[in-house]
């Protein structure tokens, strides 16, 4: 349905995405995991045809067999919302504070489907019910500030669903929410994807929520997909040194707090910091922080290999 082939995005400071290839089929649930600066949000904006003007793009993006690489706004507009929709991290700033949330959700319905005011209102109530907002007709008349963070995110999901998209991209949808509410919202996304046969791309730094809700996962670092495979395989048996470091750095609530000497146990860490775009190595992006590094890692571009896609010349691939 959507296919990215060797997409690269370059800014003046350096390349922010390098040769990203992805296929998303109807009903797929793909997680994209990475830390700040890994390029995951940029990748999402490329999927929506909203790459920043300052960026130079290469590679191809195909939606439903149509090459969208050079498509202009006119070509994109009908696709957005109806084929690909997106929800963002901050549910408050994505809603107009001066409009009733029902009117906001009705807008694309009237615009894209030409529904009358009453028809749109009826559809909004159905959508609100679908995203488990209690008392949908009453919620539709409320303003954003009258809703809780979780309810606002549900409104935005309803808005994204309004035009029956084939793919929903969720960029850090739960970061601003409390842990319990985040769990409910993630579960709702999975539920909707299953019921509607809608593909879901979940972008998150939260490994737990990606593990819960996706079938496949791509791990990003410095603009590369460093490892990609089945979510369970990758998260339970990570192979790329970066994925391993990332998973180890998560504290385990059940682990013992202190060692035999009574000293508090330290968490395993990845040495150093993510360098700025201009400071990333030309070869493997993880060079300089990696425990398995070889002399030529920093200069030689690694080639993806293995049945589970792995971007590391040192580690042998496995399923």
């Amino acid at each position: 349905m959507i296919e990215l082939d060797t997409l690269s995005v370059t800014f003046a400071a350096g390349s922010a995405l390098r040769d990203i290839s992805l296929k998303i089929a109807p009903g797929d649930r793909l997680g994209i995991v990475g830390e700040s600066g890994s390029g995951k949000s940029l990748l999402a904006s490329c999927l929506m045809g909203m790459a920043p003007d300052a960026a130079t793009l290469s590679g191809t993006l195909t939606i439903d067999g149509v090459d969208m690489s050079d498509a202009d706004e006119e070509t994109w507009r009908p696709l957005r919302a109806r084929r690909v929709a997106m929800i963002f991290q901050e549910p408050m700033s994505a809603l107009n504070p001066l409009r009733r949330v029902g009117d906001t959700v009705a807008e694309p319905l009237r615009l894209h489907f030409g529904l009358s005011r009453d028809e749109a209102a009826k559809r909004v109530a159905e959508l609100f019910a679908e995203v488990d907002l209690p008392n949908p007709e009453r919620r539709a008349r409320m303003f954003p500030h009258e809703l809780s963070g979780g309810q606002r995110q549900r409104v935005l999901i309803a808005l994204a669903l309004a035009c029956d998209p084939a793919l929903l991209i969720a960029d850090e949808p739960t970061t601003a929410l409390d842990a319990n509410v985040a769990l409910q919202v993630t579960d709702l996304l999975v539920d909707l994807s299953e019921k509607r046969g809608m593909a879901l791309v979940l972008i998150s730094h939260d490994l737990a929520s990606v593990a819960r809700s996706t079938e496949r996962v791509a791990v990003m670092y410095g603009g590369d997909i460093v490892e990609r495979g089945g979510t369970d395989d990758v998260l339970h048996a990570p192979q790329h040194p970066y994925t391993q470091g990332l998973l180890a750095a998560r504290p385990d609530p059940q682990a013992a707090l202190r060692d035999e000497q009574g000293k508090r146990k330290r968490l395993p860490t990845i040495p150093g910091n993510v360098p700025p775009l201009s400071g990333l190595a030309q070869g493997c992006r993880f060079a300089g922080r990696c425990a398995l590094e070889r002399p030529d890692c920093a200069t030689a571009r690694p080639v993806p290999h293995g049945p589970r896609m792995l971007l590391c010349p040192v580690v042998e691939g496995a399923a």
């Binding site: 830390e35 700040s36 963070g149 409390d178 842990a179 319990n180 509410v181 985040a182 769990l183 730094h205 490994l207 737990a208 990606v210 593990a211 819960r212 998260l235 339970h236 470091g245 990332l246 998973l247 750095a249 998560r250 504290p251 385990d252 609530p253 059940q254 682990a255 013992a256 707090l257 000293k263 508090r264 146990k265 330290r266 968490l267 395993p268 860490t269 990845i270 910091n273 993510v274």
Partner: protein, 256 residues
């Protein structure tokens, strides 16, 4: 030795009137919370937003007065001290905040921001700024840079450097690692453990994330809508939570 003792801490906030002549309803931010923290020990406070975690921090830091209850720091009741006395005691208890972008003045060099607590104390800066930067894993030269030259994790290190520059006995951390990436978060948590062992710091560590609290805390207090649901030994609560709510927080923080 008990450094901090809070007893029956309660704080209400008045809400807007619902009727013109009616009484103003009250929001109970925190109700009857009691706890102690000893030197070198960490108390973790967990709960969702609105559970009263930050109110608790503000009361311990004596930024506002409780409606009932008391906070005794090193035997002195913080809320009955005179303003000058409280000011003289402040170097002993310091705070770090969630947002490392908002807590540093963007127009001032890092060294200036670090020196502010020292100037407020009226003590000499001397080598202290350079020393505290090195202590949190940065370089002495970083004092001449501006906040925008640092990453989020480095800024949080600067905020920690500023908090420990007065050699406090107690550090209050309100969601201090929530805004950080996973790998950076691990580095900062380790730094807090290092500093605690080095300086014998007591910590009040506030977070919504059970996993983070588990890595750092000796004792635990679980808050929900201003009420203390359970408190006690951290390992005991983590291994056998008594409340459904605590269990749900643990599930939410679950390993992938």
């Amino acid at each position: 030795m008990t450094l901090l003792r809070a007893e029956g801490l309660t704080r209400h906030y008045p809400l807007p009137r619902t009727r013109v002549l009616g009484p103003r309803p009250r929001l109970t931010a925190i109700e009857d919370a009691s706890f102690t923290i000893s030197a070198g020990e960490t108390l973790g406070v967990v709960g969702e937003s609105g559970s009263g975690k930050s109110t608790l921090a503000r009361l311990v830091m004596a930024f506002e007065k409780p409606d009932a209850g008391s906070v005794a720091f090193d035997g002195k009741d913080l809320h009955s001290l005179s303003r000058p006395d409280l000011r003289r005691l402040r170097p002993e208890f310091q705070m770090i905040f969630q947002d490392p972008y908002g807590s540093l003045d963007p127009r001032r060099r890092v060294g200036w921001s670090l020196g502010e607590p020292l100037r407020a104390m009226g003590t000499d800066e001397g080598r202290k700024i350079a020393d505290s930067l090195v202590q949190v894993g940065l370089h002495a030269e970083d004092a001449t840079k501006f906040p925008h030259e640092f990453s989020g994790g480095q800024r949080q290190r600067i905020a920690i450097a500023r908090a420990i520059i007065t050699r406090p006995q107690l550090l209050v951390a309100d969601e201090a690692v929530s805004a950080l990436d996973v790998s950076v978060r691990a580095q900062i948590l380790n730094l807090l453990m290092d500093l605690q062992e080095e300086l014998g710091l007591a910590m009040l560590f506030i977070s919504h994330d059970m996993a983070v609290v588990a890595a750092l805390c000796d004792t635990l207090m679980v808050l929900k809508s201003g009420n203390v649901l359970e408190q006690g030994n951290a390992a005991a609560i983590l291994n056998a939570p008594q409340h459904e709510y605590t269990q749900s927080l643990l599930t939410a923080a679950g390993t992938p």
